[in-house]
């Protein structure tokens, strides 16, 4: 059994933990300790609640209940546990894309590039029944061929996702078949993510690297502070920002897009410590979406008299402009009401250069540096926080280890915010973290380049295929590895799956719920390697240091990786 020894690596957050303890407020860490020990069957993927004859488990130590009532054995249970996560994760991307597309169609925002926008909207509509025909044309042919050969090339979510969900209901599919359905659904999630990036680009204009401030110090004392939590309609966010500018309300965000040109939203904190901003007393109103938002927020907000508005309620105002005006009114009222409350804002903030894209990072230069050996490889850092690890610690120590070894690190979204808190996205601090060769390569890319490149909104995919096309090789032939040091959401699982399907080996922490079955673990490594030339590595060793994890990845970059932590193949 585990318990938490150190809660967070962020000293700004740590300061508020004593405050929370004094006022007997239970935060995410306390709730986690209350849950221990977590159900071992669910953790290892050996449980199932898909029908009402159960719930069933496959008992690892007892012969009488090795199979579920319907006959699912441990291998199928584990493979389906993964499929369940991937399906949920795919819905996340499709939902976000749908929200955005609906917002654009309503004509509330005038798109920068009307022609391109209409084209993408049409593509989005065809995603339901034709599975991104246009996107497939833009992807490398060899990759599409491989997907078609394995049968995972998307045919439209109306068929693929419904069919994949039926695999949980019954049928005679084996482990490999179930896994391939997971891959097929994840690719739709990937396409939706990419399309959303493209749509954002055509509606709001090409991304320009912008300086965004990060950490609790961004909150302001004398003005109303409106915080946007999690992902919800970009159009609504845009309207809120527009309205806030007129009304003198200061808008910041937690786990939300930092950039919606021409607006940028300073990031108050990241996922793991999302309850902390309220404890400063400086938050006047919260607008919350679904993804990334912990339901605990409302309870803590209530203690501090902070109103919380759901951006996605059933009875929400449907007109974004009107809704934004309502929100701003409420923010001002709340500020007046809370005027006399103590505001304790720590003076800690960091500058982050965010919003790089394939236009601003020259893939050819990166490729040349890879070929000449200046760069030893590329690591994609992804995922948000997980309470099972000291907040940010794994992510940051692994990143620092990579930077020391001349590895180009790229990240996006939440990971970027976490890394930015420690100065990794500050161009002025680049020399502190990077080895000399890497530093030179980064300097050659542009003027103000930080040690880690933030390539949000689907730009990672663009950038990677940019490299693959320039080098005329497949992605699997390059030293590129994706790492999820502290993942927690189902959409991150989906992301890991599509990354593997694109041919990029992936390391995922914490362990996915497949560890109960050797066959499924083996399929994720050996079978995936045969099909895609890459593996999804689930490391079962629990008590290992972040630097040891980094050395695993470094080995993988050199092509010397084994299977799993022990270095010997699973039997």
């Amino acid at each position: 059994m585990e318990f938490i020894q150190k809660k967070t690596a962020d000293i700004t957050v740590e300061r508020f933990l004593t405050k929370a303890a004094e006022s007997e407020l239970s935060l995410v860490w306390d709730r986690y300790e209350g849950q221990l020990p977590e159900c071992g069957f669910c953790e290892t993927g050996l449980s199932c609640r898909d029908c009402l004859q159960g719930p069933c488990i496959s008992h690892p130590f007892r012969d009488s209940n090795k199979w579920g009532v319907c006959g699912k054995d441990k291998d199928i249970l584990a493979a389906q546990s993964l499929l369940r996560l991937v399906l949920k994760g795919t819905m996340v991307y499709l939902d976000q894309l749908n929200d955005f597309a609906k917002g654009v169609e309503s004509g509330e925002v005038r798109p920068k590039n009307k022609e391109k926008t209409d084209q993408i909207l049409k593509e989005i509509q065809s995603l339901a029944h034709h599975g991104g025909k246009q996107i497939k044309k833009e992807l490398p042919k060899s990759l599409i061929r491989r997907w078609e050969e394995t049968g995972i090339s998307p045919e439209g979510f109306a068929r693929d996702l419904f069919k994949a969900s039926q695999k949980l209901e019954g049928g005679v599919g084996d482990v490999e078949e179930t896994l391939l359905w997971s891959f097929k659904s994840s690719l739709l999630g990937g396409m939706a993510h990419w399309l959303q990036g493209n749509l954002k680009r055509s509606v709001f204009g090409d991304p320009v690297p912008t300086k965004v401030e990060v950490n609790l110090g961004v909150l302001k004392k004398g003005v109303p502070n409106l915080l946007l939590y999690g992902s919800f309609s970009l159009i609504l966010k845009y309207k809120i920002a527009e309205e806030a500018k007129k009304k003198g309300v200061y808008v910041t965000g937690v786990c939300t897009d930092p950039l919606i040109p021409p607006f940028s939203f300073p990031q108050v904190t990241n996922y793991g410590s999302q309850e902390i901003p309220i404890l400063t007393g400086a938050v006047d109103l919260i607008v919350a979406g679904n993804q990334f938002v912990n339901p605990s927020l409302t309870k803590i907000a209530k203690e501090w008299e902070v109103p919380v508005i759901s951006a996605e309620g059933l009875k929400r105002e449907k007109d974004p402009s009107h809704f934004a005006r309502q929100i701003l009114e409420k923010a001002k009222k709340s500020f007046d009401f809370r005027r006399n409350l103590l505001r304790e804002i720590p003076e800690v903030k960091e500058v982050a250069m965010m919003g790089f894209s394939r236009e601003t990072v020259d893939a050819k230069k990166v490729l040349a540096a890879l070929n000449q050996g200046q760069l030893k490889g590329i690591v994609i850092l992804s995922g948000s926080n997980n309470v099972k690890y000291t907040q940010d610690q794994e992510m940051v120590s692994m990143a620092q280890e990579f930077l020391k070894n001349d590895i180009l690190c790229i990240s996006k979204g939440e990971t970027s915010v976490a890394l930015a808190k420690y100065g990794h996205l500050n161009p002025a601090l680049k020399e502190n973290y990077c080895n000399k060769e890497l530093s030179n390569v980064l300097s050659s890319l542009g003027k103000e380049i930080p040690s880690i490149l933030d390539l949000g909104d689907g730009n990672i995919v663009d950038f990677l295929f940019g490299i693959a096309n320039a080098g005329k090789k497949e992605l699997k032939d390059y030293p590129i590895v994706a790492v999820f040091p502290e993942a927690h959401r189902s959409s991150e699982v989906t992301e890991a799956m599509w990354t593997v399907a694109m041919g990029i080996p992936t390391y995922f922490w914490p362990s996915l719920p497949v560890t109960g079955s050797q066959k499924t673990m083996e399929a994720l490594t050996k079978f995936c390697f045969e099909k895609f030339g890459s593996k999804l590595n689930v490391v079962t060793e629990k008590k290992i240091d972040a630097r040891v994890k980094a050395s695993l990845v470094l080995k993988a970059l050199k092509g010397e990786e084994g299977f799993g932590m022990s270095g010997k193949p699973w039997k």
Binding site: P37, E43, H59, F61, R62, S511, T515, E541, K542, K571
Partner: protein
């Protein structure tokens, strides 16, 4: 003497006691992810009977297993009163398995010893009571328990 009290109304039959007993007590690695794949399978000392009744050794005062054991392998710890198997001397005759009224003693075919709950006598606290999510398993003095039962 402290024994484990089972509150049948609280037991949900989640098998967590079995799983963690198997991992913490019976496995070599003591880690869930590795214990699952160990060969021979770790044998949990406790188990859930039927839908919702967790069973462990009751450490009977007149223990039939101690009576039946032909060579003194089944012993009682004089300090704590807990009944345990002295594994090196076990001859795997399974007499104890036959006489146990609760069926708590497991014959381990692979290890050739009788396997039985010793209420984690070498640990501070029995693991099953520790992990029980509903606290259906609790460690209490046997005397208190009797008092409660007669009230």
């Amino acid at each position: 003497m402290k024994v484990i009290i089972v509150d049948k109304t609280k037991c949900t039959g989640c098998h967590q006691c079995e799983l963690w007993c198997g991992t913490e007590i019976a496995s070599v690695s003591k880690e869930l992810y590795q214990a699952i794949h160990e060969e021979p399978h770790p044998v949990p000392r406790v188990y859930v009977e039927g839908k919702d009744f967790a069973l462990q050794c009751r450490h009977c005062e007149e223990a039939p297993c101690i009576e039946a054991c032909p060579n003194g392998t089944m012993r009682r710890d004089p300090e704590t009163g807990l009944v345990y198997v002295n594994e090196p001397t076990c001859i795997a005759c399974w007499m104890c398995v036959m006489v146990c009224p609760f069926g708590i003693i497991n014959p381990s075919a692979s290890m050739k010893v009788a396997i039985k709950c010793d209420r984690c006598r070498n640990m501070g606290h029995p693991i099953c009571a520790e992990v029980c999510p509903t606290q259906a398993l609790r460690l209490e003095e046997r005397k208190d328990y009797r008092k409660k039962a007669f009230q």
